[in-house]
């Protein structure tokens, strides 16, 4: 019996009755006679004997030294690979994202520069490597003392965590990786909008949660690294958007390639996609294009992002497209809960979409409830808790396997294939409802003299003036109870499609209305 390890545990084994205990690698007690493993582990015995002096000797051997940037580089690499796998052009990974990353490192003075400020600020000359897979580390930068490296797998985690430093230096964080990807996708004018990107992340098609599982074996994460690499939330649309604007400014990017009519990001095409998803008639698209012309939201100048220019505003293509659709519907149907009768097709449309929307929301909630957040490879925050963390992980896995065998379901639920559309309309199996794409909207226009005008002559809108010239916060929450229910429901539908909040979408709608009703270009 391993007396020193098992500390004189002398209960007879449940299966064979012998008292002969050993310790497995995972620090569980096992009977040497019949190899029966019991639940008792060393932590019950050992925690009192742990002392600070033992820390150094527990340093995991076999790992190489790495810094936090390298970690982020790996993460970006995996995210790029996932996106290329979903259909993005391969140049995205090799050229665009990599160049952005290099430029970022340069501008924040972490690498590719004469005096990189890492660890204790010791000067080191880091030459750029033609091999994009790894960053070569200069010997002199190992000046960090051994005490820091024991608390984390990477070398400079302690330095990285000084909050003051990170804010002024714009160090990389997990949400910023997504922002960088978004900028790169925008540069390439790919069809994946920010809302799509976030949805892909939440369905685990793009690695973000538990991405440390993809790290190579030599790069061990523990201790303070957790703060940087372990994310427990998917960042919101607004947050990533702000980070992207910030990054574009920090990186001093030039004007982006123009977004023109033939691009997939153009509002015309995005509107088409959203009207199809919302089961609206295809004819609506023509009207939306007309509104777009009126507000001059379709021209290149408006849509192209220019970080250095006077506006410095990163456009939200998806939100704008949805806002245009909503404004068009307001023009056509008035949407004030009072106009009736002739708009019967609106009611039919509502009756077909509402149940589908409700069931989609429920499914979404159920999927979120069953979402797995914790990784199979648990990361140890500090060495004292190592056995505890390992034990918990083991207990969780055993519980899960027990209950899965009980219910007969499999452990690994494959996520459904990613799709640009949330709903399926038509008569196929699994459709959410009958398709209304073919409906005519001609009755909504009438001839008056030579021109055709809308039947609906009135239009309502909330106050369009900005409270403050610079920062007008959303007033949706105050207004919400006074807005017509049909309008609020419509906001709910499109915000569910895009994965943003209703308040945000409402803000975009107000902006479109401003342009429409007060003339383009005016505030």
């Amino acid at each position: 019996m391993d007396e020193d390890l098992t500390e004189g545990y002398s209960e007879p084994c449940g299966q064979c009755g012998n008292v002969c205990w050993g310790l497995t690698d995972a620090e569980q007690f096992f009977c040497k006679n019949c190899h029966n493993v019991i639940e008792r582990t060393k932590d019950v015995v050992d925690s009192s004997t742990y002392s600070a002096n033992n820390r150094i000797s527990h340093f995991p051997s076999g790992g190489r030294k790495w810094i936090v940037c390298e970690g982020f580089q790996f993460i970006l690499k995996h995210q790029a690979e996932a996106l290329v796998g979903l259909g993005v052009c391969p140049e995205f990974k090799k050229k665009v994202l990599w160049n952005f990353w290099m430029r970022y490192l340069q501008k924040t003075r972490q690498a590719y520069t004469k005096n990189p400020r890492i660890t204790n600020g010791s000067p080191g000359d880091i030459t750029s490597d033609s091999e994009p897979e790894s960053l070569a580390l200069n010997e002199s930068s190992e000046a960090s003392d051994g005490k820091l490296s024991v608390c984390s797998g990477s070398l400079d985690a302690a330095y990285y965590s000084f909050a003051k430093e990170s804010k002024s230096r714009h160090l990389m964080t997990m949400p910023r990786t997504l922002a960088l990807c978004h900028l790169a996708l925008l540069w390439m004018r790919e069809a994946i909008t920010l809302a799509d990107l976030l949805r892909l992340v939440s369905k685990r098609h793009v690695p973000y949660i538990n991405v440390h599982e993809h790290f190579p074996e030599e790069m061990k994460i523990f201790g303070k690294d957790c703060k940087f690499f372990i994310a427990e939330s998917i960042p919101s649309y607004r947050m990533v958007h702000r980070e992207a604007s910030l990054l574009a400014k920090v990186m001093e990017l030039p004007t982006f390639p123009p977004v023109s009519q033939d691009c997939l990001l153009h509002p015309a095409l995005l509107c088409l996609r959203y009207t199809m998803d919302a089961n609206l008639p295809d004819e609506l698209h023509l009207l939306v294009c007309k509104v777009m012309e009126k507000t001059a939201m379709g021209n290149d100048f408006f849509l192209t992002f220019d970080p250095a220019g006077p506006k410095q505003r990163l456009p939200c293509y998806d939100l704008q497209a949805a806002a245009l659709i909503i404004v068009t519907m307001k023009l056509l149907f008035k949407l004030d809960d009072q106009t009736e009768c002739k708009m019967f097709s609106l009611r039919r449309w509502y009756m077909s979409v509402q149940p589908a929307l409700e069931s989609a929301r429920e499914r979404e909630e159920q999927a979120e409830a069953r979402q797995a957040w914790k990784s199979k490879k648990p990361v140890v925050p500090n060495l004292k808790n190592k056995t505890l963390v390992l034990k918990r992980r083991r207990v969780v896995e055993q519980l899960q396997s027990n209950f899965h065998t009980l219910t007969g379901s499999t452990m690994e639920q494959q996520p459904p294939a990613p799709s640009s559309f949330l709903f399926l309309w038509g008569t196929e199996e699994g459709a959410d409802g009958p398709s209304l794409h073919h409906k005519r909207l001609a009755f909504l226009m009438e001839k008056k003299g030579r021109a055709r005008c809308l039947v609906n002559r009135k239009y309502w809108h909330p106050a369009l003036r900005l409270c403050h010239p610079r920062e007008c916060r959303e007033h949706f929450l105050e207004l919400e109870s006074s807005l017509p229910r049909m309008y609020v429901w419509l906001l709910g539908l499109f915000s569910f499609l895009l994965g943003v909040s209703q308040a945000q979408l409402h803000g975009e709608v107000i902006q479109v209305e401003r342009r429409l009703l007060r003339g383009k270009g005016m505030r």
Binding site: C226, S236, E365, A369, V396, L399
Partner: protein
């Protein structure tokens, strides 16, 4: 108000919760505003939704779905915040056992596995879970495994023992003894099949008896309510013919002031004395205490019959009081045996000389009781009515009969048709009337103040009336049970 800062600080705040002591002190110096602004992380939101969905599924008895949600919920055991940790392991334990209990495919191994896992995650619930595990095994007939669990639990020591833990450990110790008794019972029944001779020479059985008696004696000597343990100990002592010890134990349990008042103690003592043919006096004494504790106990009828059989005068009076008390309780109101008992008492009372005085005092009570009885009679089923009407008429007959000897008081007129009864109560200063009618059969029957075919009844609150007057139809002779 800037969202970015709050969201960026979320991972920092969470990861720092398991930092060392000195860092924790540093953390508390941070401005609290930032920490409160932290919104719920995606992980916590998922866990919260999962718990809500699991609860819904359980309340609607969708056990399959609930099991799936529990599998997803178990990831919250890895939550880094310690407060949630403790709650989570308890939730998983309790909900998990509930789901397993109702799920059609669950087996004993699943229960065992769940209990083992949850015992070792967190020390707070160890003793409780051990107890529950052993109860579960006990209920499924696995006595030896149950005993094993308890002995492992009894020898467990970790950290400081809180007050509740010491209570639980006492309970574990008690159930250890109890399980020894169970196993002894098993052995006894298996050996009894073999033959009488074997009973005395079976060593294993005796070891269990010794173990059990040592443990149980220790437990019973502490003040508390130990009903099942007492019974098992007495059973064993009786088997080995140690009556004296058994009697001592029971008397101590019943009469010792340190122990909380427990009617069962007296019941057990009474049953023991009865089994061993104790004299009536002793039995009466025992039941007297019980009567004072629980006047509506089911043994009170036996008490009454004991009192009736004794020759002492006071006993009979007491019997009447006890019986009347008993009939006040709702659970006894419809019990025919109780009413019969009362009838017997009254019959006996009739013979006794002091009956007038007793009757005078008891009259108001009797009348009220009779009133209630007729109400019950009316509500009773057709099969029971004859019994009730017989009892009513008998009682009234007794009273009337006794009244014929001179007292002025109640004038009772019984009717053969007990469906129609009219009561007339007079109080001290005023007159209360109650009429209770059914459709009557004989139309030529006339009594004053009758209202025909009006099923109304007003009965005023039972004030302690001194005089009662009961008017009933004068067909006293035709007193027969009739519907």
């Amino acid at each position: 108000m800037d969202d970015i800062e709050a969201e960026l600080n979320i991972p920092q705040a969470q990861a720092e919760s398991e930092s060392s002591e000195d860092e924790r002190i540093q953390k508390t110096l941070k401005p609290p505003g930032l920490l409160h602004v932290c919104r719920e992380s995606g992980f916590h939101k998922s866990v919260r939704l999962c718990l809500k969905a699991m609860r819904d599924a359980m309340l609607h008895h969708r056990w399959q779905e609930a099991a799936q949600y529990l599998a997803a919920y178990s990831q919250s055991l890895e939550d880094s915040t310690t407060q949630k940790q403790l709650i989570v392991s308890e939730i998983i334990w309790r909900l998990g056992t509930e789901i397993l209990y109702h799920h059609p495919n669950s087996k004993l191994e699943d229960f065992n596995a769940l209990y083992e896992r949850m015992k070792n995650s967190g020390v707070k619930n160890y003793a409780k879970i051990c107890l529950e595990h052993s109860f579960h095994l006990l209920l499924n007939g696995h006595f030896h495994e149950s005993k094993q669990q308890l002995s492992v639990a009894a020898s467990w020591r970790y950290g400081k023992q809180s007050a509740t833990q010491s209570l639980l450990l006492k309970l574990i110790h008690a159930y250890c003894g109890f399980l020894d008794y169970f196993i002894w019972c098993m052995k006894r029944s298996s050996v009894a099949k073999v033959g009488e001779m074997m009973l005395l020479s079976n060593r294993e059985m005796h070891t269990y008896f010794r173990q059990a008696s040592v443990t149980l004696q220790q437990i019973i000597s502490q003040p508390g309510v130990w009903d099942p343990f007492i019974l098992s100990y007495i059973d064993m002592l009786e088997f080995y013919n140690d009556q004296e010890e058994a009697l001592n134990v029971l008397q101590n349990y019943a009469y010792n002031k340190d122990y909380p008042a427990n009617p069962n103690a007296h019941v057990y003592l009474y049953q023991f004395l009865k089994r061993h043919n104790a004299p009536n006096i002793k039995l009466i004494r025992t039941l007297k205490v019980l009567c004072s504790l629980v006047p509506s106990h089911e043994l009170i009828l036996e008490y009454c019959s004991l009192l009736l059989n004794s020759d002492v005068q006071e006993d009979l009076q007491e019997a009447l009081g006890v019986a009347m008390n008993l009939l006040d309780y709702t659970s006894w109101k419809t019990n025919v045996n109780a009413w019969n008992c009362l009838m017997n008492i009254l019959k006996l009372l009739k013979i006794i000389i002091f009956k007038k005085c007793i009757l005078y005092e008891m009259k108001n009570q009797i009348a009220f009781v009779v009133l209630k009885l007729t109400i019950i009679q009316d509500q009773a089923s057709n099969g029971e009515r004859p019994i009730y009407s017989k009892i009513v008429s008998e009682i009234l007959f007794q009273i009337h009969d006794s009244e014929k000897n001179g007292t002025k008081y109640p004038e009772l007129f019984c009717t053969n048709n007990t469906k129609k009864v009219q009561f007339f109560f007079s109080g001290c200063s005023s007159f209360y009337t109650g009429t209770y009618l059914h459709k009557r059969r004989n139309k030529d029957f006339m009594t004053p103040n009758l209202e025909y075919d009006r099923p109304s009844f007003f009965m005023v609150t039972p004030l302690p009336t001194r005089r009662l007057v009961l008017f009933i139809d004068s067909r006293l002779a035709g007193l027969q049970p009739q519907c």
